[in-house]
Symmetry: C2
Amino acid sequence: MQSRSSAARATGRPRSAAADAAILEATRAALVELGWSRLTLGDVAMRAGVAKTTLYRRWAGKNELVVDAVAELFDELELPDSGSLAADIEGVVLQFAAILDRPEAKSGLMAVVAEATRDEALRERVRASIVDRQKRLVLEGRARAQARGELPVEDDPAAAAATVDLIFDMVAGAVVHRTLVSAEPVTEDWARRFAQMLLQGLTNTSPA
Amino acid sequence: MQSRSSAARATGRPRSAAADAAILEATRAALVELGWSRLTLGDVAMRAGVAKTTLYRRWAGKNELVVDAVAELFDELELPDSGSLAADIEGVVLQFAAILDRPEAKSGLMAVVAEATRDEALRERVRASIVDRQKRLVLEGRARAQARGELPVEDDPAAAAATVDLIFDMVAGAVVHRTLVSAEPVTEDWARRFAQMLLQGLTNTSPA
DNA sequence: GTGCTTTCGATACGAGTCGTAGCGTAACGG
DNA sequence: CCGTTACGCTACGACTCGTATCGAAAGCAC
């Protein structure tokens, strides 16, 4: 959202919070029915029972609106404390996949990422609203695994950050690619195989 | 392309092959300058020096056109025979990343994938034109590594296919996510770390 | 060459979307 | 009660879409 800076304007009629919620909900519904390309802001406004001008007063355009609408889907993401690193990975992968499987996430997320390649501000918005929320799970899971002694501790903070980024891109990338590009479902079996592959590596394949 | 079935019509004026090339090239140029959302077919036609009707005669719409235009970028992909699995992986990753780094691939590919989530025919087109071409590299690299004794041979063909799919999603997914979502460059160092992580796994981290 | 067939370039068209402007009304705070 | 801002509504010019139509051009069979 674009919370009117920190010192919010105290005078005048306040913006309807209900309208915000209705608009974002309507955006997701429109994404499900129409997909990204056929989604129009006029249609969203009508679904939300809101004038088109109200919509433009709060969001700069389609891109920003859809980022916010999709970002809310990732609110439910949380790291399950399963007791082992392998189980943690499987749990996060299945959660992430369940969100990506929803049609409003499928069509919206990739389209926004595509637009973000040419728009620095939008890229930053995606990072803050969606990506960072996911990456935090990697940080937490890694810390827990290190506390359990399942993973070695890296002293060099720069190297540690690079490792976290690498793991993040591998986990999130694999799930996204499987779901959206290969268009195959992320089953429990796939998550198990993935976690084992990530932990043991390609060469140490012990048939489950 | 949509080669008029196998038994091509032999009579009448043949379609200009030069126009095909000019249109695809113009599409890539427009992707670079305008990105996906601002790209219009009228503009592409003008750039290619072709009437808009000619364009619509060959492609059903923006989606199909961009798939073909982007697919050509992946023609140069090939598996370098480096002598070791790790080096092969690094080589492919760097090649793939180099293509993804081009702006016409960045903005075009993700947008098409997003549209494909709601269009079965388009999804099949993407698979045939782009995905399968990449997956072949995994198959070849795996076969070579098995011949060298670097990887175990799986007897069950179904399990082997699942493994190939898993590896493919992990490699391609990581590179795509790193490049387009995290928006960070795939350097030689990153490729090296990735290959080691994929081969040795998360637990067997030996600081390079 | 002479037809026949299909493509090509050009133009025009209705339909739909865009983002903005104007205006009167509604909802708050001092 | 009054100033300020949000809201709903309508209308607008500009643009893109995909299609239709037409005469001209290019190849192939004969």
